[in-house]
Symmetry: C2
Subunit: 328 residues, 2 copies
Amino acid sequence: MVAEAAGVSPSTVSRILNGTAVVADEKRQAVDAAIARLGFVPNPVARGLAGGRTLSIGVVTQAIDSPFYGVALRGIEDELDKAGYSPLFVSGHWNAVEEARCIEMLRARRVDGIVVLGGRLSDAALRACAKALPTVVTGRMMKAPNLFALNFDNFSGARLATEHLLALGHRRIAFIAGDPGHPDAMERERGYREALESAGIAYSSALVAPGLFHEDGGLAAAEQLLEARQRFTALFAANDQMAVGACLALHRRALRVPDDVSVVGFDDLLVSRHALPPLTTVHQPAYELGQIASQAILQMLRGEKPTSTMPAPRLVVRESTQRPSPRP
Amino acid sequence: MVAEAAGVSPSTVSRILNGTAVVADEKRQAVDAAIARLGFVPNPVARGLAGGRTLSIGVVTQAIDSPFYGVALRGIEDELDKAGYSPLFVSGHWNAVEEARCIEMLRARRVDGIVVLGGRLSDAALRACAKALPTVVTGRMMKAPNLFALNFDNFSGARLATEHLLALGHRRIAFIAGDPGHPDAMERERGYREALESAGIAYSSALVAPGLFHEDGGLAAAEQLLEARQRFTALFAANDQMAVGACLALHRRALRVPDDVSVVGFDDLLVSRHALPPLTTVHQPAYELGQIASQAILQMLRGEKPTSTMPAPRLVVRESTQRPSPRP
DNA sequence: CTGAAAGCGCTTACAG
DNA sequence: CTGAAAGCGCTTACAG
């Protein structure tokens, strides 16, 4: 080790670098000086091998270019960085097999912990992962040793969105659902239904169409609804991407938002602020999601039990919703 | 090493794992069997320490949630994965100091090569980086040993966009410029000017405003132009994000796109296909950018000299442009 | 073709 | 408080 040019043993250097033990001030200064002089930078690879800690956290996201999770990744980056950890990003592409490969790869690289954002891994697979490493998972609710789950209240969020429309006076509210089978999608649909019921409005399956959580799906769903000549004055899409697609479908039929139909989305993506018109939507705090997940894994690494939860859903009213205009 | 339970020496196992030397078939099979049986997975950390190769490539991007670079990251991921390499993503946030820290960190982690996407690092800093590691840089033109630069033809792209507007019959074409001092921004502005000049139209600085490459900047720039009561029938924004912001400004003044003003952007972000109206823009192949950069670094690692270049710019005509309507 | 040995750059018990 | 030693899991010359 270069820095022992300071006249002490490598052990001592290691100790002061890691704060593992108290070291005489004299030696500490000699070492600090040598480090500065040599421009020494410790090798995390060797550290990982020897110490069993790599100071890196594996994060399996679904797509590195996801407009929603991208922001979460940023929260993870920032939070981990403060603690001297680095994230290792891998993409599972919403595919359990790939996600499993990702986790294996991360383990091979000896990350200290794993956070998985969404995804389709079974609870059992996650539980197995947690046996080997501290793991936090978002987008589902579950309990297991060495595992922390962080979930957003999709149900209340969706109810909020629907109630907003109801409060404006809308009665015929179409719904564009997400990916069938996806827990978020199911919870959001449940919120929509329950809000309707509470208002004494019967749920009509003719007013709902699946949009697969992406723009083209939202567009197709809206077209399908329009094609079927369903009458509705408002539309709630289970995410902003589908809402944007739906707006395009509406536009193609010369229907104006919000004059002819009010639209509300879900997620509050960065781009939604600049949609035409700026989209009313329920804000999902992606950045905080990343932060909280990171804090949780860091806490687990310190042997603490994470307790934080996600902020409650919040409706952001912009310009895509208004009272229904009297039909001619 | 566990796998020597196969009855051979660790060296032999290592050799067959790495294909470093020819090994007797008999031993190879014994080892393969043992590996399969034990579920052995080599430890890249140790490999990195011992062999000097970590099979990882550092990629410094500017923001992990950038709508443009996100797609490039995906190209990098896919291409590296094929070759058994993993990307290590770090964000420089368009800040030379942070980018330098990123590179240091990557070097500490002993990546085998570095690709830097855009950014504000000086050529000298990059040259220095290349002294230590094969490096590829995008978004600028430069030559240095052990360094490969990959640049998109922003100039021609911008000319294409402007010529499209000109061909439609527009004469008064406003321009929303990017980040002053940014090479891409300068090239795009140059393309705009040159197209104008070739058409015999005088460049007027009153028709250009800086938009800083983001939505709010584009919105502000458009407002400024409108405020100044500049007359224009078309608007070219130096990237899609600013174009979207400009559309919002236009919308606020009840100006319709493309009826009242045609708008063209630059980049062809995923979201631009679903803008209202779908945006005419010049396509910049982000995914390919990532792919080519990865291939280049891989080639350099093999001792080859990369030669690939970026595809030429291509205009994607959608619905935000049309012939100018006769003014009342 | 294949071992035995040394070493990659650190850390962690183990003794003072 | 601080060395000397052993070891993390692999690879690479060096000899056969």
